[in-house]
């Protein structure tokens, strides 16, 4: 290897391999508890990928909400329903054949499509090394309040982009808050213990 290793790419490969490998393990496992555990590892590797792409706030949110919340919920559900006969349920092998066929065709379309656009190939090494580390927490917070401070200064070749400045996300923030409240009430109502009439 004549050139030196570019470390961010090495870590990208590591996290990406972990995420994909554990996702495939979720697919292939039959024991439901092991599936949940592999999913935890796959989502944690995805959080690592988020950190590598510069989205540290979203990465921390993924760890806290997805891994630490949604998956705990899923595991509770698994525990509540894990009787002997449901822990391992096998699929008919005909299903597997169809599944792999369709999955393979989908991948064969998506991956060449991903590599076909030249602008998606990645920055040149020189450009990448001269970039400045930016923090995202403050602009994200301000964006959620409606003030898009990330658009006060524009990136170098923005001149040809002629669209208007993007609006803030305050309305979406409010809507998703109300949505979460409704979901909380609804899920608690749906999952309540019912009194059986004897």
């Amino acid at each position: 290897m004549g050139e030196t290793i570019y470390w961010p790419s090495f870590f990208f490969l590591l996290c990406a391999t972990l995420a994909c490998a554990f996702a495939v393990a979720v697919l292939l496992a039959t024991n439901i508890v092991r599936m949940a555990f592999y999913l935890v590892l796959s989502l944690s590797a995805t959080a690592g990928l988020f950190f590598l792409a510069g989205a540290d706030f979203v990465g921390a949110m993924q760890l806290m909400i997805y891994v630490g919340g949604t998956l705990v919920l899923l595991i509770f559900g698994v525990m509540l329903t894990s009787q002997e006969r449901f822990v391992e349920m096998k699929t008919w092998s005909g299903d597997w054949v169809f599944a792999f066929l369709i999955g393979g065709m989908l991948l064969m379309i998506l991956i060449p499509a991903a590599f076909s656009v030249p602008q998606w190939g990645g920055l040149k090494l020189a450009d990448s090394e001269s970039m400045v580390v930016q923090d995202t927490a403050t602009p994200l917070g301000m964006g959620l309040l409606g003030a898009r401070v990330d658009q006060l200064v524009e990136p170098p070749d923005r001149q040809e982009h002629s669209g208007p400045l993007q609006p803030g996300y305050l309305l979406l923030f409010e809507i998703s808050s109300v949505h979460l409240l409704v979901v909380l009430v609804g899920a608690a109502y749906l999952a309540r213990a019912k009194h059986k009439k004897s």
């Binding site: 030196t4 705990v72 923090d135 403050t138």
Partner: protein, 414 residues
């Protein structure tokens, strides 16, 4: 450190060594602190119960007792129950331990002098440090659930489920109690939070307004519940009567669970010290008086930082000692009492404190110590990075010390 070393060797070797040094330091901190805390717990519990505690191993005070216990645990038989799920049973202690250790990545042990471009003494200077630590501490519950499930015993499963419910419930008021401190400092960056409290103890965030004062005590209660300690430890102790999530574990695997617990205790105490108790700035600014600051050169600055590190660790040890003291003083709560405390007392209190701190900060923006003193001017300039030639087309960078550009996951220059 990595940049410094890479002047002398290949860069990949420099980064590897820098990362290894960080890992070794943190592992040593966790392991030695676990050793010390187990001994401290036995001594304190002994004194509270009017007896002496360990006195034989290692001289009069028995401070090598934990080492002897560790050796005993190493030589125990490695059991595995009959119907247990092998892979998950073996993996569970390490999951707990990994989650507990990962929170130390973002915790700074001494401040950074941004004007000189020196980074804080953290393994990784994460901009959203507080959020990251809280998120990772919430992952420890997976080790518990896996241990309870894979032990193939219904008592283990019940204990694990109760403990998981408790930890997950207490994450909500824990997060809400942290927000007043973040609000006042204006950043989630732990080193900025620490340096916001520079100077006398009147600058400490716990004394910033009465709402933050109460928020600290609620935080401490929720942190104690979150690490399953003190009056909230039904998963490991009620369990002494029946069984617990770590019943089927013996020897080294069990000790990993306990290292994870003591590691988490130290981690939440460190977080409490950084957020509320002034971090590495003592009650009196001794480092400033002795002239150990950034203006007097690198060696003086590093000596000042070392003093700050010792200060921070002392505060965290005091926090852990209070947790130990409370454990042996108060009776244990039942699971319904635990959840009642969370939902009916801690959460509304934390919400009201958040509201109060917001209103206070809006009314008296630049004041410390219950509104009696002013925030020193040096603190306000913390949010700006070191003076750099502004490149055209730079997005607004607020609060980011412009460090090296490579976004590698290894440590930054120390």
């Amino acid at each position: 450190m990595a940049i410094f070393l890479s002047n002398y060797m290949w860069s990949w070797l420099a980064y590897t060594i820098a990362a290894l040094v960080h890992v070794v330091l943190i592992l040593n901190l966790v392991a030695i602190s676990a050793l010390v805390f187990i001994w401290l717990e036995r001594k304190i519990s002994g004194r509270i119960q009017d007896r002496l505690g360990p006195t034989r191993v290692g001289g009069k005070f028995g401070w090598l007792q934990t080492l002897a216990d560790g050796l005993k645990l190493l030589t125990k038989e490695d059991l595995r129950p009959e119907g247990a799920d092998g892979m998950l049973f073996r993996l569970a202690p390490y999951v707990s331990f990994a989650a507990s250790m990962a929170s130390y990545i973002a915790i700074p042990f001494a401040g950074g002098a941004y004007l000189l471009g020196a980074a804080p003494w953290a393994a990784q200077h994460i901009n959203v440090g507080v959020f990251f630590v809280l998120a990772v501490l919430g992952l420890e519950v997976f080790g518990t659930i896996l241990a309870g499930y894979s032990s193939a015993s219904k008592w283990s499963l019940f204990g694990a489920m109760r403990e998981a419910a408790q930890v997950v419930s207490y994450e909500v008021p824990l997060g809400m109690c942290v927000i007043p401190a973040v609000l006042i400092a204006g950043s989630m960056d732990l080193s900025l939070l620490g340096d916001r409290q520079a100077g006398l103890f009147t600058n400490w965030l716990i004394f910033h307004d009465p709402f933050t004062f109460i928020a600290f005590w609620v935080y401490f209660t929720c942190a104690t519940a979150s690490v399953n300690r003190a009056p909230f430890d039904l998963a490991e102790a009620e369990s002494e009567l029946v069984a617990g999530f770590h019943t089927e574990y013996s020897g080294l695997r069990w000790s990993f669970f306990f290292m994870a617990e003591y590691g988490s205790m130290l981690s939440v105490s460190l977080l409490a010290s950084i957020l509320f108790l002034g971090a590495w700035h003592g009650p009196l600014p001794i480092a400033d008086w002795l002239g150990l600051t950034a203006e007097h050169g690198r060696i003086a600055m590093n000596a000042g930082k070392l003093l700050g590190l010792v200060n921070l660790l002392l505060k965290a040890v005091v926090g852990v000692s209070v947790m130990i003291w409370v454990r042996w003083t108060l009776p244990r709560l039942r699971i319904d009492q635990v959840i009642t405390t969370c939902l009916k007392y801690c959460t509304p209190l934390a919400a009201v404190m958040l509201l109060g701190a917001t209103v206070w900060q809006y009314q008296f923006p630049g004041r410390n110590f219950f509104g009696l003193t002013n925030v020193p001017q040096a603190v306000f300039s913390l949010s700006e990075g070191p003076p750099q030639a502004a490149k055209s087309g730079n997005p607004v960078t607020k609060g980011a010390p412009v460090a090296k550009v490579e976004k590698s996951k290894m440590g930054e220059g120390a």
